[in-house]
Structure formats: C-alpha cells, structure tokens
Amino acid sequence: MKHLFTLILFLMVSVSSSFATDKPLEVKFDLQQVSKEAGIDLSGMYNLTVEDFLALSPSKIKAKTGKKLSFKEAIALKAAQKKIKKEFSTNAPGGAGSGKTQLAAFLLCFFLGFLGVHRFYMGYVGIGIIQLLTLGGCGIWALIDLVMIITGDLKTKSGEDLEPW
C-alpha cells in the first residue's frame, strides 16, 4: 500500500512536471552555433537542414566525416537534438495551439481519471490534486470531465481549446 502510494506520487510529479507549459521561445536554428555549444564538431558537414541534423546519429557522422564521437559528444548530440525538437514543436507554424490533444486527454481521463491525471495534463494542478485525493471527485467529477473532453467543452488552463482528436 505504501509502495503504491509512493508510485502514484512519483507518477503525479513526473506527469505534472512534463506537462508544465513553457512560454514559446523565439525560434533560432543556427545549427553550427547549437552544435558548437554542445561541443560537437560539425565542420566536415555543409548545408545541413534541421531535418538532417535531427536524423544524425554517431554512426552517420562517422560515415560522413570519418570522425568517431566520444560518449560525451554522443550524449551532447542527443541533448541538442532534443532541444531543437522541443522548440520546433512549440513554435511549429499552424500547430501553434496548446499542443495538447483531445485524444490524450480522453485516454488519460478514461484510464486514470480517478487519479485526476487528465486535469494535471490540462494544467489544472490544484483541481488535479483535489481529484487525486477524492478519487476523481467520487468518480462523478471524472465522468463529467470525460464527457466534457469528448464534446470539446473543457479548455486547458491557459484558455485554449484542446486540439481535436
């Protein structure tokens, strides 16, 4: 029982931390600059597009430049790609919404609604904690949320609609 509680607490913290929304940043894709900051030498590669950079892996770099990356450089490469991917997804033209989909909210509400996970996902941390402690508002509140998510009436904390399905 104690372990279960710890596990749920851990899940809550990780879920809420990963869903914490960041303010959209200015997109700057200076790949040479990014890779330089990460400590990766891309000097042998020219005309890299963002997609090319995201598709790079140590073996591909070795095949192109003949340079073998160290462990540290491999991890730095991964971190740099993650950073670019994150900026890309929050600033993608057209997809500038909340980035939270109705499908994800629906699945979270259906399977973990009694823990209020869908509320954490949508940014309502306070309501999420209340639902966590009351088993989703005795189940009724979670059920209401489920219907509202399906009909698209429930908005995220920042007031945006969920992206439809």
Binding site: S18, P58, K68, L69, F71, A74, L77, K82, S89, A104
Partner: protein, 108 residues
C-alpha cells in the same frame, strides 16, 4: 489449452532462446534505427519515455557499437546485463525441465 510442460513446447522455447539473439546478431546494427515510434508516450505527448531507444541501444550494444548505444539510450548499458542474466537463467531453467520431463517419459 497449451501444455507448457510438454517436451516439444519446451524444445520450441529453447530454440527461440538461441535463435532470437542469433537473428539479431545477423541483422545489421542499424536495422531498427529509422522506424517510426510505437511508444504511447511519444505518440500522445511527443515525449520520449525512459525506455525509448532501448531496442536500438541494445541492438547497437550487441554489435559492440558503444557510442551509438549511448546515443540511443544510455540506460541500455544497465538493462543489457540484466536482460542477458534473465535470458540465460530462463534458458537453463527450461533446459533442466526438458531433461527432467524427457527422463520421466522414458521411465514411464
């Protein structure tokens, strides 16, 4: 209902225990590199979970390509020895069971 203790079923399992690593070794190390993700965490939230990249990492690990293994998932270095241990353990367990069942059948 399958009788999991039937000698032929145990034999099939034993063959799988040997065959799967061999097939993975014969395939090129980059075999799984350029595929789409089936991880729910990626599909729903665009967020890689701690196990994402484990297949690719271990695939590179068994081909002794350590840099790529670190790149795809550093936790693979921890998981691979544990996996290998369990693999051998279950192989030996089935091996002993197979011999025992065969022996019993021979006596009867």
């Amino acid at each position: 209902m399958v009788n999991w203790n039937h000698p032929r079923v145990i034999m099939a399992r034993l063959v799988l225990y040997v065959l799967v690593p061999l097939v993975l070794l014969i395939l090129p190390a980059s075999y799984f590199d350029d595929g789409g993700s089936i991880c729910l965490s990626v599909l729903l939230f665009n967020k890689e979970c701690y196990a994402c990249g484990m297949t690719r990492s271990i695939m590179h690990l068994i081909h002794l390509d350590f840099t790529d293994a670190v790149y795809y998932n550093p936790i693979g270095f921890l998981v691979f020895p544990l996996l290998a241990y369990m693999w051998i353990k279950y192989f030996l367990k089935d091996w002993r069971r197979y011999n025992k069942v065969r022996l019993n059948n021979a006596v009867l």
